[in-house]
Symmetry: C2
Subunit: 331 residues, 2 copies
DNA sequence: TTGTACGCGTTATCAA
DNA sequence: TTGATAACGCGTACAA
């Protein structure tokens, strides 16, 4: 594009740069006719203001940094989609960074956010609930409003927004108990803060609803095959199991396949529950009962809260959004 | 963070701002001792340069704009992941925007890219191969290197990078013909430029390998259920069909379920082929033969080409990357 | 080897 | 109602 600054426009319109600026920003005290004239030239030249320069003087980049371990995990992709769209409505752009799971790298990415002068940051996933992140934020983003999605850290500028998965899982156990299940297992792939809460809910609910039945907890590694194997092994070693909760829908879907291959009837012989209420749950055969952790509400609230903070309004530091069970064929 | 400019650092180090700048950018002609001293203060203050200001003077934002219709389509998410990681290696950040499919909105987003002064743009998906986009790019990004992933537009600053899906589909037909399939159908959900090429390949291959068998082409709408219904109807109306190619793996997976529900043996009675070689293909039962359009290579090449263009090197305007069939149980 | 002065494109203050 | 001028934080000729 041919260089196109407010000075170029000013020259063509025979006014000063400040008048052009006033027109662009719709400020008062501009004569109607000059405004119309400038507006016309602006349109003719397809003038677009330089947000970089604007940001420099306004001390606001109108950009929000989004940190995520790996954007390919579908659950997080959805969150990013909701967040990006909502931020766009408010005139903000998203700087999206895949940080991986290494703390050193994550710290580097937080530094990048400060370098890019983002107006705020959203860390997506409970994995950011660590001491390393807290320290990095204190050093590099000490005055930048920061939200952790499904996690919390205690710092003046950090806001936590968490899905109440602990109670959610408790309710899953209660549901299974009501369906006369007595021997429940929980299959988990990673010990994230979020998953640890799910396990906590699982164990306490067993005590409450199933008279302290011994919890069977299986830890798989992160490949999907592994959830398949884990399910096979589980049913061999604990044939009494009549209900399985998986830490995520994807694991459950793979588990359902394993059970089907073993000719185990779902839900007659074994009931299955997943978490996330994702598309996987709707598409599996049989369809999967799943704990909806309200990702959409979580995302929307994150943005709303952030906008409020940026407007200087008071916002609660640690909010929780209730989960809900969506019942389908697998229970 | 307490304000922290090169001037603040300069004061603390008893040197001028330009010396600090020289140290930061590792320029020559700085006395070793002063350099060490400045470096120490820099570290103590956790100084981070302001990329915004830097961008203003260097006329380079070190940001690349990524346009995508909807980041939630898994195939594109993968592309974004590869691209983001590769760009990060080169010191670039990604501005990711969901444009939707409306041309007016898409134009607005292109305008935003120019406003943010991105150094280059990557448009992900053949849907950007439209006259409206071409015009918008010419107006707002006329000097910004722009790559279309899986598409092409003829303009001085636009580079096309396309998967050879036309030939890929031709090879799929040949494979099915070699497996003695005679009556092939193609199920497609949207007439994107990419899908139109697949159809073209399908029809020409029928002429070549199957003596001009009448092509059965079914257009579904974009919901997944619809692919299920379409498959049922297809098999009722054309019971002779013994091979189906779906425009995308997801459609094929849903189709496989429909066939299974109809007790149609795969691949004995009907062979099935998908496109994208995504995780869906690996996870379906039976596993799905799929055309790999080399998304990873495409993404990597896009970034490499872009970096070359930014370095002022010559880059071919329209490149093609060959597809490959990955055979699995469904054929 | 180091410092001064200017410009990048914009907004804001103040004077005209 | 308008225009000149000074920031914003940085890089870089040019001068010292």
């Amino acid at each position: 594009m041919q260089k196109n600054t407010i000075y170029d426009i000013a020259k063509k319109a025979n006014v000063s740069a400040s008048t052009v600026s006033r027109v662009i920003n719709n400020k008062p005290n501009v004569k109607k006719t000059t405004k119309a004239h400038v507006l016309k030239i602006l349109a003719e030249c397809h003038y677009v203001p330089d947000e970089t320069a604007r940001g420099l003087v306004m001390q606001s980049s109108k950009m929000i940094g989004l940190l995520i371990a790996d954007i390919r995990t579908t659950h997080h992709t959805d969150a990013i989609y909701y967040i990006e769209r909502e931020l766009a409505k408010n005139g903000y752009c998203c700087l999206i960074l895949n940080t991986g799971t290494d703390e050193k790298e994550q710290t580097q990415y937080i530094k990048m956010l400060s370098q890019r002068k983002v107006d705020a940051a959203i860390l997506i996933g409970s994995i950011y609930q660590t001491a390393a992140i807290k320290k990095a934020v204190q050093i590099y983003l000490s005055t930048t409003p920061t939200i952790i999605l499904n996690g919390y850290l205690d710092a003046p500028n950090i806001y936590g927004l968490i899905a109440d998965e602990e109670n959610g899982v408790r309710n899953c156990v209660r549901l299974l108990a009501e369906k006369n299940r007595r021997y429940l297992a929980f299959i988990v792939d990673r010990y994230t803060p979020s998953n640890l809460l799910k396990l906590k809910g699982f164990e306490s609910a067993l005590a409450q609803y199933l008279g302290g039945a011994r919890p069977v907890i299986v830890k798989t590694d992160e490949s999907r095959r592994s959830a398949y194997e884990a399910t096979l092994t589980l049913m061999k070693e604990h044939p009494e199991v009549d209900g399985i909760i998986y830490a995520e829908d994807i694991l459950a879907v793979v588990g359902i396949r394993a059970l089907t291959d073993m000719k185990i009837a779902i839900p007659e012989r074994v009931a299955v529950v997943g978490i996330n209420n994702s598309l996987h749950a709707e598409n599996s055969i049989p369809t999967l009962t799943s704990l909806d952790n309200m990702l959409y509400d979580l995302s929307l609230t994150a943005v709303r809260n952030l906008m409020d903070v940026l407007r200087g309004q008071y916002v609660n530091k640690k909010m929780m959004i209730c989960s809900e069970i969506v019942e389908r064929e697998s229970t």
